[in-house]
């Protein structure tokens, strides 16, 4: 109970200060839209069938790039005035602190994604993209959680490095590959207007497994990262 | 047996040995650098202790 309240307080704090400046939301949002526009030069936007086949991959690339921007800010926000020290020294356990920050990042990234999804579907005339909206949102939520759990953890690890803006993506993308792979596969299927069947279930299981494994691993190891 | 096959086989082995050798060389270089650093730091410490 105490744990959940503290997690909520931390998440609310991060969201409130983000909403006040909107730094990373604006950056991630416009970056994502720019990439979506750039895709139109990469492929023929009128060949809808091709776009359908690539949709999952394209979307998750956008999400992963946008995510890196949000995640970079996550712990960097604590740097001025040594705020992180105050949080670690307060009676908040490292895992509550981690979960709070992960929740905030998750929410921010999800907002950006929920804007991108219809824009992508609309601009490329993917009329079927929302036929399986429920499952698609489920996949987006699961995939985003995987991205934010890994990202939040590595945001804490890289925050004091010089070149942290570069190091975070270099470390984080190869680690998230299974999660991105699964999310891409499933999103492609769902955006194309088909249901998840047969062989694709294994990707859903992979996605859920990835989330569970890395959430527990993060909760087990945050203390080593935050307490020196 | 065609000649290309042999050439590429040679390339393959050469590549393996070159990479191995390159790695050994980086180890040697690092060894030298570390030795130099230890030496200069120790000298610095001695100098300061004398003062």
């Amino acid at each position: 109970m105490r744990f959940l309240r503290q997690t909520a307080s931390i998440a609310a704090k991060d969201l409130r200060s983000e909403l006040r400046t909107k730094d990373s939301l604006n950056a991630a949002g416009s970056f994502a839209l720019v990439i979506i526009v750039l895709f139109s030069f990469m492929l023929d936007p009128t060949e809808t069938q091709t776009v359908y086949e690539l949709s999952g991959g394209l979307l998750w690339l956008v999400f992963a790039f946008a995510g890196a921007l949000i995640l970079n800010r996550s712990f960097a926000r604590e740097l001025p005035n040594d705020c992180l020290d105050m949080l670690v020294a307060s009676p908040v356990s490292s895992s509550a602190l981690f979960l709070g920050k992960a929740t905030a990042n998750f929410t921010l990234l999800l907002v950006v994604e929920l804007v991108c999804l219809p824009v992508f579907g609309g601009m490329y005339n993917l009329s079927r993209w929302s036929t399986h909206l429920g499952p698609l949102l489920g996949v987006v939520v699961l995939g985003t959680w995987g991205v934010t759990v890994i990202g939040t953890m590595f945001s804490a690890i890289t925050v004091n490095l010089r070149l942290r803006e570069l190091m975070l993506p270099i470390l984080v993308y190869p680690i998230m590959i299974p999660c991105l792979m699964a999310a891409m596969k499933l999103s492609t299927v769902l955006i194309s207007g088909e249901a998840i069947t047969g062989d694709d279930w294994i990707w859903l299981r992979l996605l859920i497994g990835f989330d569970i494994i890395f959430t527990s691993l993060s909760l087990l190891t945050v203390d080593f990262v935050l307490v020196s | 047996m065609d000649q290309r096959n042999f050439t590429y086989m040679f390339y393959g082995f050469a590549a393996a040995w070159v990479i191995l050798a390159a790695y050994v060389l980086t180890l040697v270089a690092r060894e030298r650098r570390l030795a130099g650093q230890v030496e200069s730091l120790k000298r610095m410490l001695e100098d300061r202790e004398k003062k």
Binding site: L161, T221 | N5
Partner: protein, 230 residues
């Protein structure tokens, strides 16, 4: 004394490798389908096993570091990763050259190749990150966490990639209990085993040398702090 043993071992393993080369080139005949190029396998397969083993041990020692907080585990972990990376490069280079002849292409996005490439990038990033950290204790803790994450992810990726179609040739070594393998000539197999031995010993020696350096690095950093504190 320890260093001498290391050097002797290293030289012995290299000599063994050279002797194996002789056997491989002169004594063994060409393989019927692949011709001469198949000989690359004598380097390629053991190199992969070395790198798997190195990454696995690095993952295990990273967890041990987090549990026991003793520097020796961290030192082993970096060394294993670095040597593993060198052998990954060997595996990729030899494999790529082999593929040029057999498949007609330098690179294909085959599952295992992709996996190896990802692994390479990931562990290179790990080494880069270590280079950027100045305090050995923080570096050891963070590196151990990163390595644990990396190993877990790499293992999952390996599994995930099995679900994609693969065009990599199956196992050729006859391991007990694996009936599908064992298509290899016993003479070739003996040569392959000897090469395994040689490469594993060389990797071991390299890791040991690297471990010494990591200890020296810590010494340098501690001296630096001492100078700084005066």
């Amino acid at each position: 004394m320890r260093e001498k043993i290391l050097y002797v071992l290293g030289v012995a393993a290299t000599l063994l490798l050279v002797r194996n080369l002789y056997v491989i080139f002169i004594t063994l005949p060409d393989e019927q389908d692949q011709g001469a190029i198949y000989r690359i396998m004598f380097f390629h397969i053991p190199a992969w096993f070395v790198c798997f083993t190195a990454y696995f041990l690095a993952g295990v020692t990273s967890v041990l570091y987090l549990v026991k907080k003793q520097f020796k585990y961290d030192v082993f972990s970096v060394s294993a990763v670095e040597v593993g990376l060198a052998f990954t490069l060997i595996g990729l280079a030899t494999g790529s050259i082999w593929a040029r002849i057999i498949w007609g292409i330098w690179w294909t996005w085959d599952a295992r190749l992709t996996w190896a490439f990802i692994t390479c990038l990931l562990y290179a990033a790990y080494l880069m990150m270590r280079n950027m950290m100045d305090d050995a204790s923080t570096r050891a803790r963070f590196a151990a966490v990163v390595c644990t994450f990396a190993f877990t992810s790499v293992a999952i990726t390996f599994k995930a990639i099995e679900w994609w179609r693969t065009q990599h040739p199956g196992p050729v070594l006859s391991l007990p209990g694996r009936s599908a393998g064992g298509t290899m000539d016993p003479e070739m197999e003996a040569a392959l085993r000897l090469n395994y031995l040689a490469l594993f010993v060389i990797a071991g020696v390299l890791i040991a040398v690297r471990m010494n350096q990591e200890k020296r690095l810590r010494e340098v950093e501690s001296l630096r702090r001492q100078v700084h504190a005066m």
